[in-house]
Subunit: 178 residues, 2 copies
């Protein structure tokens, strides 16, 4: 059975929405995902807000209630009958997220067993056929076929096989002989 | 650079010592590692203690202060100049251990960056050249060269390349062209 690794933030979970919610609330701003085309929030935020930006991620509850990316549940449930699905998230940069990420996965993706969660840093460690990820650097390090999941910050990245939403993920794997 | 994955429990950390300490204290017993040759503690414990056995592992502080396996720090520090070292621990079966395992690694192995921690379940996900692990089933699932680190429970396992202590790990890798 072919194996697909799936990133969490910005792929399964709408991390950016929560990030912007906290940013806008704290600084009385109205930054939208559209304002971030080709950039991360930390690139448009003033220098004196960088520390606060980081502290949003470190908050114990940040990763607890993230919204689902539309279609992620349905498509992964379908794919899990034909492929081996592993979740691979760069959790080590935000150790406070470990517990909440575990709980979030159990709540929203009960059909994926915890033995298939991988909390890691450097994604070159993954032995899998496919990786769906929003970070170009993760895909470059991965040895299998990468699929760059579109997010505002990666819109100008070129040279990647790109999927814009979960419908396109489903389409891509329909053509793959599992 | 060749890559070595290293398991934590019973390889870097003396998990069994803590497990026996709690067991003996709770049940007023004097079970030693020698009593466990070829067996896990759950195999010699009566049925009505199984739930308690499991709850030892789930305690928030169980993995916080485990003793080091003798030589693990020195040998890994040496190896880290010639090999890429990743820590790969089956943390997903005990989600309460995630935070304490992270802290333990930072405290005792500061020369290994958190980006090289892998908290996982099924170790077939690891892309590496070597895996040092005390669980035969992990080594069987791993695609590279496995080294079975001797522990009481695995003493009767055959057909594995076996290392009995960290000195033997160092010896083995001396002969490997990194």
């Amino acid at each position: 059975m072919l194996r697909i690794c799936v990133d969490m933030d910005e792929v399964m979970a709408d991390t950016l929405a929560e990030y912007l919610r906290r940013y806008n609330q704290t600084f009385d701003e109205e930054v939208t995902p559209q304002d971030l085309a080709g950039k991360g929030l930390w690139e448009i935020a003033p220098l004196d807000r960088q520390q606060q930006l980081r502290s949003f991620l470190d908050a114990e509850d940040f990763f607890e209630d993230l919204d689902l990316m539309p279609g992620s549940q349905d498509v992964l449930r379908q794919l899990s009958s034909r492929f081996e699905i592993f979740i691979a998230t760069q959790a080590m940069a935000v150790p406070n997220s470990l517990g909440s990420k575990y709980r979030w996965l159990q709540r929203h993706f009960p059909f994926i067993p915890p033995s298939h969660y991988v909390f890691c840093g450097d994604k070159s460690i993954l032995r899998a056929d496919y990786l769906i990820d929003d970070q170009p650097k993760n895909i470059l390090r991965f040895e299998g076929q990468g699929l760059l999941y579109s997010a505002p910050h990666n819109l100008s990245a070129t040279g990647f096989l790109r999927v814009n939403n979960w419908e396109e993920v489903a389409q891509y794997f329909t053509a793959v002989q599992a």
